[in-house]
């Protein structure tokens, strides 16, 4: 039985890597993948706490997170396809109509 703080630190590291990825990459799909990475890190934290508190609630919550992640991925990728059809690029820097 290893101390559960290790799992939490691992989760934190994964989360930060995902966050940095969102900020650095310019390809919209890769940004999406980094977001999935962040969601996975959170899943790991939930499972850890579920284990620590001897409860099933964490695992149920992870179940729902996965459901939502699936739905979100589907819709998000559909949007990217729509944008690609309009602008022929998936570079987020080119979608800057909100500039002053």
């Amino acid at each position: 039985m290893i101390p559960l703080t290790w799992y939490l630190i691992l989760s934190g590291i994964l989360f930060s890597i995902g966050a940095v990825g969102v900020l650095i990459r310019r390809n919209a799909i890769v940004i999406f993948m980094c977001i999935e990475l962040m969601l996975n890190a959170v899943n790991l934290a939930f499972i850890t706490f579920s284990r620590q508190l001897n409860s099933m609630d964490g695992q149920i919550f992870v179940f729902f997170i996965m459901t939502v992640a699936a739905a979100e991925a589907a819709v998000g990728l559909a949007i990217i396809i729509a944008i690609y059809r309009n602008k022929a690029t998936v570079n987020v820097d080119d979608i800057n109509l909100m500039k002053w």
Binding site: T5, S16, I17, R51, N54, M56, A78, A82
Partner: protein
């Protein structure tokens, strides 16, 4: 002993693959590495006695969602050449992002190490879980305590399906 060794190996693999996801130029390679990250996470879930979730992770996340990603990448015909060669307009975005990420890691680590975790302990110890069976327990919870979110989740998926179809449909130009 075995547990800590397994954790160290799988943890390092996870972190390495995550870094590759972020820093690979080709989007297909990023997707492959992400799949690997998820599989190693599934192993970690098994270590934490959440076998059902581990199975679901591999089946749904790595098997369905990531495949969807790869389909889209192939559909849009993206390659390494798309991103390379473009000058980064925001030249201080990269350094500040890395610094920020570093601070984030340090903070989360500090928070985790400083806090004293306490909470009301539930009744499902690992022995109880292995006695009843993880999947049975998840199922039981889903249909008694969390039945309402369960039903709502189905509606959510329904909405997502319709949304995705509408958004990605090819426009038919009527003559």
């Amino acid at each position: 002993m075995l547990e800590s060794l397994l954790f160290l190996i799988m943890g390092s693999i996870t972190i390495a693959c995550a870094l590759c996801v972020v820093f690979q130029k080709n989007p297909i390679y990023s997707a492959i590495f992400l799949i690997q990250t998820m599989v190693s996470l599934a192993v970690l879930y098994v270590l934490l006695h959440a076998q059902f979730i581990a199975a679901i992770q591999v089946m749904v996340y790595a098997g369905a969602i990531m495949v969807l990603f790869i389909f889209v990448i192939m559909l849009l015909n993206l390659s390494k050449a798309d991103e390379e060669g473009e000058r980064d307009n925001l030249f201080f975005q990269k350094p500040s992002a890395i610094i920020l990420g570093f601070i984030l890691v340090v903070m989360i680590g500090a928070v985790t190490l400083k806090t004293v975790f306490q909470g009301v302990k539930g009744e499902y110890t690992p022995e109880t879980i292995s006695q009843i069976g993880n999947t049975q327990l998840v199922g039981k919870m889903l249909f008694t305590k969390y039945v309402f979110p369960f039903e709502i989740a189905s509606i959510l998926l329904f909405a997502a399906i319709i949304g995705a179809i509408i958004l990605a449909k090819k426009r038919i130009i009527e003559d």
